[in-house]
């Protein structure tokens, strides 16, 4: 006689769209675990920054380098983009493809604005010679904020691909998963920015 055999797994229909398919559901879990590694990555960069932030050598200190105006602007842009991404996911839950695409597009524009402002700041520093060859503080600042900015940029490129996919195939468990995991990633970057804003910029200016 054969062993007791399992039946086919059935997914409930009251689950969100991306969790109704087993494979897509696994991918959501996978992205959560990837975010764990990203937390560790940024954590290590923060640790490096915490140690090196006083090592200014002949270069500028945090207080003299940072201009809070553009930083507040970038913060508003990024936090708002997180909010609009939340609206996009809500639209997806309601099955509204047009609203989803619209809100995601707004999110990406705000993200691009964030990246543009940050790039301009970095260019300004570079023009003055405040590059990471100058001091360990600048190195640590550049790599922390730069890694975050690179993550945001990569996210924008990824999201553009998702928009194309949603445009072509509509809302399926697969495209819903793509949107949802992108939203997780985007909110995560937002949280990291809150830490950067506080620990790097505010404490740098004030501390």
């Amino acid at each position: 006689m054969s062993a007791e055999l399992a039946g086919e797994p059935r997914r409930r229909d009251d689950l969100p769209l991306e969790l109704r398919d087993e494979r897509e559901s696994l991918r959501v879990t996978g992205v959560w675990l990837f975010l764990v590694t990203d937390i560790l990555l940024f954590g290590s960069l923060f640790a490096g920054y915490a140690v090196l932030r006083t090592q200014v050598a002949s270069g500028p200190t945090a207080a003299s380098l940072f201009r809070l105006g553009p930083v507040m602007f970038e913060t508003v842009a990024l936090l708002t983009s997180s909010f609009t991404m939340g609206l996009a996911v809500q639209a997806m839950r309601a099955g509204n493809r047009r609203a989803l695409v619209a809100w995601m597009a707004v999110t990406l524009v705000l993200g691009a604005v964030f990246v543009g402002s940050e790039a301009r700041d970095f260019a300004l520093f570079a023009a003055r010679g405040d590059t990471w060859g100058r001091s360990a503080f600048l190195s640590a600042f550049d790599i922390l904020v730069g890694t975050h900015g690179a993550h945001v940029t990569a996210g924008i490129v990824w999201a553009l691909g998702i928009l194309v996919r949603v445009g072509r195939r509509g809302l399926t468990p697969r495209t819903a998963r793509k949107v949802y995991t992108f939203a997780l990633y985007w909110h995560f970057l937002d949280i990291v920015w809150v830490f950067i804003f506080t620990v790097v910029y505010l404490l740098g200016k004030v501390g």
Partner: protein
Amino acid sequence: MPGFAVFILHTLFPPDVLRPTEVGADVLIALSGGGIAYLLTTRRLWGRLWHGWITTVDHKRIGVMYLIAALVMLFRAGVDALMLRTDLALPGAHVIGAAQYNAVFTTHGTIMVFFMSMPFIFALMNAVVPLMIGARDVAFPRLNAMSLWLFVAGAMLLNVSFVVGGSPNAGWTAYAPLTELAFNPGPGQNFYFLALLIAGIGTTMTGVNFAVTILRMRAPGMTLLKMPMFVWSALATATLILFAFPPLTVALAMSLFDRLFGSSFFTMGHGGMAMMYVNLFWLFGHPEVYILVLPAFGVFSEVVATFSGKAVFGYRTMVLSIVAIMLLAYGTWVHHFFTMGAGPSVNVFFGLSTMLIAIPTGVKIFNWIFTMWGGHIRMTVAMLYQLAFIPTFVVGGATGVLLAAVPADYQLHNSYFLVAHFHNVLIGGTLFGLLSGLYYWWPKMFGRRLDERQGRVAFWLFFVGFWVTFAPQYLLGFMGMTRRMASYPLGLGWHPLNVVSTVGAFVMGAGFLALVYNIAHSLLHGEVDTTGDPWNGRTLEWALASPAPAYNFARIPVVRARDAFWHMKRDGRTLAALRREDLRDLPMARNSPVPFLMGTAFFVLGFGMVFAWWPIAALGGAGIAACLAASTAEPDDEAVLDSHTVAVIEAAAGRLEA
């Protein structure tokens, strides 16, 4: 010849790379590479290679490829070791000069840790974890293939440094500021950083993959506390990977940027802090050694249970111990540099945490011994490695406690006592565990057995060779000999024990040759495993034919107890008598060339960055972007294997009820 061609040739082939040993190796590599290509062409095997192996996403085949890589790397790093030991047995004779010695111990350590042990572990995990939990594949088959090819890209990059550009030479730990451009000019050290960065991405993907697989793809009824011990080890290893590799990535990237882009993280000037590198590296480094040893513990739990004919003793405390080790592993890293001025309080904290981690390990040792108590111990080769592991690892762990006694470490840090300690636990623990797993799961992977008598020869050579090599090194530590010395004066009394140690190393080398012979013999003439259960096993992988079919389980069984297969056999209800009407159509992941192409693109990127040839690096980067785009665009990555084909396969294995 045009000036820039001369420049390129000089950069690729500096004098470092043109010594007799390197040129000889180049010739060997060219000959064997050419030989393999010739064989593949005359037997028209390129197609099968491409479709069956290079583009596969089947975890079992990926496991085999990891294994091949691990064995080749074991050969390379083992030859490195023999070169080192020969040089140390003949100090002042310049068997190899200091420059080459430094490169050889660097590649020995780097390869053994990253490119031998880790792929060997991934080979075993890929080969059996899905089978043990009753799954048809891992959670992300194509990502699994990407992990493999990224590992290959990293390994190739490190190995190619031998041939072009010059090998890294700052030790497997690559401390700053020794790796700073001012003290380490030339491209050689860049190979180290880039190879590890690339392979590290692959490893992280493996961690995610197996964590999701184990957490979410177990057969119905298999709760966490019914999982086999090897699966628990795999889960703990995957979790440690997720937490350990990011700090390494940061440490390596910062060092690389210091060299390539003039940043100041760890430089001697501009406020750089080399100690930051040390902290970040060991924040990774200590969990890494537990990544290396926990799978071996898992193998031993399986092997001791099977060959004692008893369930593992104290399953719950075993699980608790694995979790405790996993958590504590992250809290001991400063013990790698007690002498770096952290102050008594910090040192005491980490000394105590290091001693603490010995406790769950001790629990496991006791439980393995009690597993054997009251059993019938069958002395197969797999079990011999387990039996050798216990005394070897106990001694190695005890010397670790000696090193954890902080003031004692002040004398023993970086001495040969330390070298003996970590080889003791890595060989006695990790290598013996991997070899035990190899002998144990070989039939499941290849459908044939490894000859037991030949295996015993290899075992004894390894075991005796190990002790002859490393016992003297404990004594050398007490004589004050420091590690990584290319040569030493003769008046210090270090010579005789160095000679003994070298003899032992060659005995271990003979053991490796015996192992290779054993493997070749098995593949060509080995006894075929007809039942799928050659050892009277207890866990689900033995419920399948050997080797397992592509889809693993035609039907997934319901699990009611720990040691699921043992209970199935006891009830007389196994998977060897499925009925035709039980079979279903099975969705299978399709093969894909993207992982291989991605690995190639990463290699190109890495190679370009090593030499700071940005157009080549950009080409690699573009390739990566293209592969990413392609992989998100692939809509049809699944195909259906119809039930009729499944029936044919099951019937051919004699598992279909007539």
